[in-house]
């Protein structure tokens, strides 16, 4: 060992080499920036649990003033885009089976009569308040049961609104004749206020979440492939005979991935704020600090997979086998709290879960530093464990 370059020189050479390998090929350069941006736009609008443009069918067997009024109210509601009139009960099955409509409202022959009867105040002594034979039927498509559940709420609202108005019309008439109409107006006002997102714009929720999701995908694939590719192309041996230590090799793989991730994040955050108009209320410094730790934990997982894999193909499949659970256990599609207890424990090991809380918090809630750090330290732990594991596996494989 006559001459040895200082560590930072060796490391810098490796980092430059890695960045060149990643960015020299125009195809991979494009793949790292353009599709993720397109995805951010498309998915941010697509991933919505809001319900709009529902198509429905009505079978009106009553043909009364009230049934016409009810149909008009459904037509006027912004939730229902398309109201088809059916001619007979036999059509119900076919329109639902073929998914032409999400729900069918069947207005029975006695609807107007029942409505006017129900508008009469029921005396307090009445045994069964609501057990009137139903002249209204709502049939929903359970294939889209989530949407169906939400739509059911909207439909119930419209129907009881009509009942209230019918009662009010009646009550107005009967009030003049002396009886009172107590209880027809709500005695308690519920004042709703949504913090951080007053109009509940769904995009404000999806954009920060999707940014976190896309960063996980690229982070895992970039690093997951790195060692495996060198092994497959046999360039790993060249690295091994160089004066670089195991840790330096891993560091040389980590830093370029962090740089690529940071560049991506700048594109994402700018697009979110400037184009998608998501408010950014928090501290950019805090976001990037936690992003750095998040990238380290994702890269740790990626390098761990990569150190285990013999070929690039195995590395990609391993990365993908992890991406899907990471997305599912992140709280993006469904809240982590509604999962079974033991899965919630598993979700704690998912960096995406922690980072999504931070991303949404910093974007919308101006999350204070203490809370950001409280969600950051689990990622520090994940990064420490995975990076060490990657180094150990990598070294053991070299020994054998």
């Amino acid at each position: 060992m006559a001459f040895r370059l200082p560590m930072w020189v060796r490391l810098r050479a490796l980092i430059v080499k890695e960045l060149l390998a990643l960015l020299r090929d125009p195809k991979s350069r494009v793949v790292l920036i353009v599709p993720p941006l397109v995805q951010l736009f498309v998915f941010s609008f697509a991933a919505t649990l809001e319900v709009k443009n529902v198509s429905m069918a009505v079978l009106d067997e009553d043909h009364s003033r009230w049934s016409w009024e009810l149909i008009q109210r459904f037509r006027a509601s912004p939730t229902f885009a398309d109201v088809v009139m059916l001619d007979g009960a036999r059509q119900i099955q076919s329109v639902l089976d073929r998914q032409q409509v999400l729900l069918v409202l069947r207005i029975g022959e006695t609807f107007a009569r029942d409505l006017e009867a129900s508008a009469q105040p029921v005396s307090g002594a009445a045994e069964e308040g609501g057990a009137r034979p139903a002249s209204l039927q709502l049939i929903l498509d359970g294939r889209r049961s989530n949407t169906a559940q939400i739509v059911q709420g909207y439909a119930a609202e419209i129907i009881s609104g009509l009942a209230r108005d019918a009662a009010a019309a009646r009550g107005g008439a009967s009030a003049r004749s002396g009886s009172n109409s107590a209880g027809s107006s709500p005695a308690v006002a519920v004042i709703g206020r949504n913090w951080f997102n007053p109009n509940l714009i769904y995009r404000w929720f999806t954009v920060p979440s999707i940014i976190a999701l896309l960063m996980t995908v690229t982070g895992l694939i970039v690093t997951g492939l790195s060692l495996a590719r060198e092994r497959e192309l046999a360039t790993l041996d060249q690295l091994l005979v160089s004066p670089l230590t195991t840790w330096e090799i891993l560091l040389g793989k980590t830093i370029p991935a962090v740089i690529v991730g940071a560049i991506q994040a700048v594109f994402f955050v700018s697009a979110a704020v400037l184009v998608l108009q998501v408010p950014f209320n928090g501290s950019l410094a805090l976001l990037f600090l936690s992003l750095f730790v998040f990238m380290l934990s994702v890269i740790g997982i990626g390098l761990f997979i990569s150190s285990l894999a013999q070929t690039q193909q195995q590395a990609i499949l391993g990365a993908l086998a992890l991406i899907s659970p990471a997305v599912l256990l992140s709280g993006f599609a469904s809240p982590v709290e509604s999962m079974p207890g033991w899965l919630q424990v598993v979700a704690e090991a998912n960096p995406l879960k922690h980072f999504m809380i931070i991303a949404r918090g910093v974007f919308l809630k101006d999350m204070p530093a203490a809370l950001v750090l409280a969600n950051t330290w689990p990622m520090v732990a994940i990064a420490a464990v995975t990076l060490t594991a990657a180094a150990l596996v990598f070294r053991r494989k070299l020994g054998s």
């Binding site: 090929d25 697509a46 443009n53 073929r98 009137r132 009881s160 009550g171 005695a187 193909q313 899907s324």
Partner: protein
């Protein structure tokens, strides 16, 4: 490239279709699949893990949402209202005295909602009751404030709606116990066909099979063929007298078999482990799956042909295959609610048609008028992918 340009086999020999050559290629490709443990991983282990997670982790049924009720008023009425929240199965309620204690919870995400019963709640409520009976003019009605964490819009809307419901219920109970007259509400008799208990698992598990099949079909094919291009073995294959269609068929066949095997595993698990009903026929299920594999495999082949590099192929397969199948197929997020331009985009996602077929086959039955157009769409997308692949591959040879 040397090998490709140096080919001199007469065109007639290559375009002639030879079943023996195809069989040889099929055997070679199958060996390659069976010998690589990662294909077994992706065909059997990954579907099992994913199904398991989709079955247990993803539930769109919101229940036991954490909220706090802040009692600034300590009247019996306020306590009675709080207890109606405590009794609700939709909320996991903690009680606080001061709203400052709990507002922090909204920021940290520990709470999804805060229901504030203000100091003058009982006074206003009782005043309104007296005003009503004496026909006087009532003042401002009693109010309850519901604060939610709007950064999770779905849950926020849920908290708003169910708080409103809890308050209305409480009022009705109160009216009833006081023997007051009130108009009967009109409620429709609601039935949910195909999934009466509204188990979200019953529609998520069939939908997730489409995502799993996309991974198996598109990703695996994209990677394997990209590796052949990367290593130059594809050119070697082209230098043989095998025609381009035979190469494509020989590449597709083993993955087709693998895909159908993964499908079998998924269906058995869905029915046996997750108790999802299977109301359609096995024949229709096989037909729909077979048709879906055309675009799935075709997309994989096309990606690998264009990319010729495993890294790019993997990224492209995840971005154009897996994520759209997850987000744009209508599997979780309803397509009708998306903006129109994005609805247009979903039409080129083959998984969209497969999700419809699977949900219908599992929950409804063989609705051919719905299945056939969807299968036709999948076949068309598959034909386009395979056609472009064939063209691109030919071009490179000239």
């Amino acid at each position: 490239m040397q090998a490709a340009s140096g080919m001199s086999a007469p065109a007639s020999a290559r375009t002639r279709f030879d079943p023996r050559r195809l069989a040889a290629l099929f055997v070679k490709e199958s060996h390659q699949v069976v010998r690589d443990p990662s294909s077994i991983l992706i065909a059997f282990v990954l579907p099992a893990i994913l199904l398991f997670l989709f079955g247990y982790a993803v539930s769109l049924d919101i229940n036991r949402v954490r909220v706090a009720v802040v009692l600034e008023d300590d009247s019996p009425e306020a306590y009675s209202l709080a207890s109606s929240f405590l009794g609700s199965s939709y909320f996991d309620v903690s009680i606080a005295r001061d709203r400052r204690q709990v507002e922090e919870g909204l920021v940290s995400g520990e709470l999804y909602g805060v229901i504030v019963v203000p100091q003058d709640f009982a006074r206003r409520l009782l005043a309104a009751g007296r005003a009503d009976s004496s026909d006087g003019v009532s003042g401002a009605p009693a109010s309850v404030q519901v604060l939610t964490d709007g950064s999770q819009p779905n849950t926020a809307a849920f908290v708003q709606n169910y708080s409103q419901g809890a308050v209305t219920n409480w009022l009705q109970q109160r009216q009833l116990t006081r023997g007051a007259a009130m108009p009967a509400d009109l409620a429709a008799d609601t039935r949910v066909w195909y999934n009466p208990a509204l188990h979200s698992r019953d529609f998520l598990v069939p939908g997730s099979i489409a995502v799993i099949m996309t991974i198996t079909g598109t990703l695996l094919t994209a990677l394997v063929v990209a590796r052949e291009w990367e290593r130059g073995t594809m050119e070697a294959l082209m230098a043989t007298p095998i025609g381009i269609f035979e190469i494509l068929a020989g590449k597709l066949a083993p993955y087709f078999v693998l895909g159908m095997a993964a499908m079998t595993v998924c269906v058995i698990a869905a029915v046996q482990v997750f108790d999802v009903p299977l109301r359609g026929s096995i024949g229709a299920l096989v037909a729909a799956s077979a048709v879906f594999l055309l675009p799935a495999l075709g997309q994989g082949l096309l990606i690998s042909t264009l990319a010729r590099n495993q890294f790019v192929a993997a990224q492209a397969a995840v971005i154009s295959g897996f994520l759209p199948a997850f987000l744009l197929s209508g599997f979780i997020f309803d397509i009708a609610s998306m903006p129109v331009p994005i609805q247009v985009v979903t039409h080129v996602v083959a998984a969209r048609y497969f999700v419809t077929c699977l949900k219908t086959l599992f929950l409804v039955g063989d609705v051919w008028p719905l299945l056939l157009p969807n299968m036709a769409a999948m076949a068309a997308i598959g034909a386009v992918f395979l056609g472009i692949t064939a063209l691109r591959t030919k071009k490179r040879l000239d």
